[in-house]
């Protein structure tokens, strides 16, 4: 396996251990929780007494759409069985499983990226353009940070699940 390496530096050994994988999954859950509660924080703060905006600015459904898109994208991406992505090179897969997997995966990544882009759009169009000051603009900034955290969580979970393949491969041989 090591003779097929492309890069000069080998992958560090700890990256393939089962413990790193477990830690990665836990970290992904923690990051998603942070993002989710940052979103909830924006909504709760918007209705609380701490919101100082004089013509009152509140979270509306528009602010929720990017978060919903990101969460859906994360769900789609991590529902895919990663080993199906290279399935066409083996004989057991007919009917273009890899092609379907790539299509669904593309939809997932599009949802995820669309969520992040959408949160930036909401921040700019709803808060920056109308020149709100700091405590009010938190509702937009928190939205962007939350979507970024969901994206990071998704990436961590993806890497952790790819580790699993190598791990089971080593076990099977």
């Amino acid at each position: 396996m090591s003779s097929h390496r492309l890069f000069r530096f080998p992958k560090p050994a700890w990256l393939n251990s089962a413990n790193t994988r477990t830690a990665g999954v836990y970290a992904a859950g923690a990051l998603f929780s942070l993002g989710f509660y940052m979103l909830i924080d924006c909504a709760v703060w918007s209705k609380s007494a701490m919101n100082p905006s004089d013509p009152p600015v509140h979270i509306t459904f528009v602010d929720w759409i990017p978060g919903i898109c990101s969460a859906l994208g994360m769900l789609v991406i991590n529902s895919i069985d990663k080993s199906r992505l290279s399935a066409d090179s083996f004989s057991y897969s007919g009917n273009g499983v890899a092609w379907k997997a790539r299509l669904v995966l593309f939809l997932g990544f599009a949802l995820l990226a669309g969520g992040l882009a959408g949160s930036v759009t909401v921040l700019v169009l709803k808060y920056v353009v109308r020149e709100y000051s700091w405590p009010t603009i938190w509702m937009g900034v928190g939205n962007v940070v939350a979507n970024g955290l969901v994206m990071t969580s998704s990436a961590v979970l993806w890497v952790a699940q790819n580790m699993e393949d190598e791990y089971t491969y080593n076990l099977a041989l």
């Binding site: 859950g29 929780s33 609380s48 007494a49 089971t168």
Partner: protein
């Protein structure tokens, strides 16, 4: 190693944790911080349920590890939720800062107790 002293120490820490959380709600006459206890009681459940649902002896079957991963993901979610929830309530001035800090520390003590309890006493059952 897991003897009577461990049980006494763990129950002591658990009592301190509950004391902190209950004080944080009773001192400020605001019982929202009790949510932290509920969170940390729920937190070990996903791992337990998903551990039963999956067959750990199957190395070739990848569907079993997906269930376990989902349980771990939920556990990480709940643990951070126990810290994020008081911070959120404090940020919206629904609870005072002192109450938030006390409930976070108390919740972590409770969760640490539950975790170390299962760590100490699980292995005897399995083997």
């Amino acid at each position: 190693m897991a003897g009577l002293k461990t049980i006494i120490a763990l129950s002591f820490v658990l009592a301190i944790g509950f004391l902190l959380v209950i004080l944080s709600s009773a001192l400020f006459h605001n019982y929202l911080t009790l949510l932290v206890v509920a969170t940390y009681v729920v937190a070990p459940l996903p791992n337990w349920i998903c551990g039963r649902a999956a067959n750990p002896d199957d190395f070739m079957e990848s569907s079993g590890s997906g269930v376990i991963d989902f349980g771990r993901f939920l556990t990480g979610f709940f643990v951070v939720m126990g810290i994020a929830l008081p911070t959120l309530l404090w940020h919206s001035s629904a609870i005072a800062g002192g109450a938030a800090a006390m409930s976070v520390v108390g919740g972590l003590l409770i969760y640490g107790t539950i975790m170390s309890f299962t760590l100490f006493f699980q292995e005897e059952q399995e083997f």
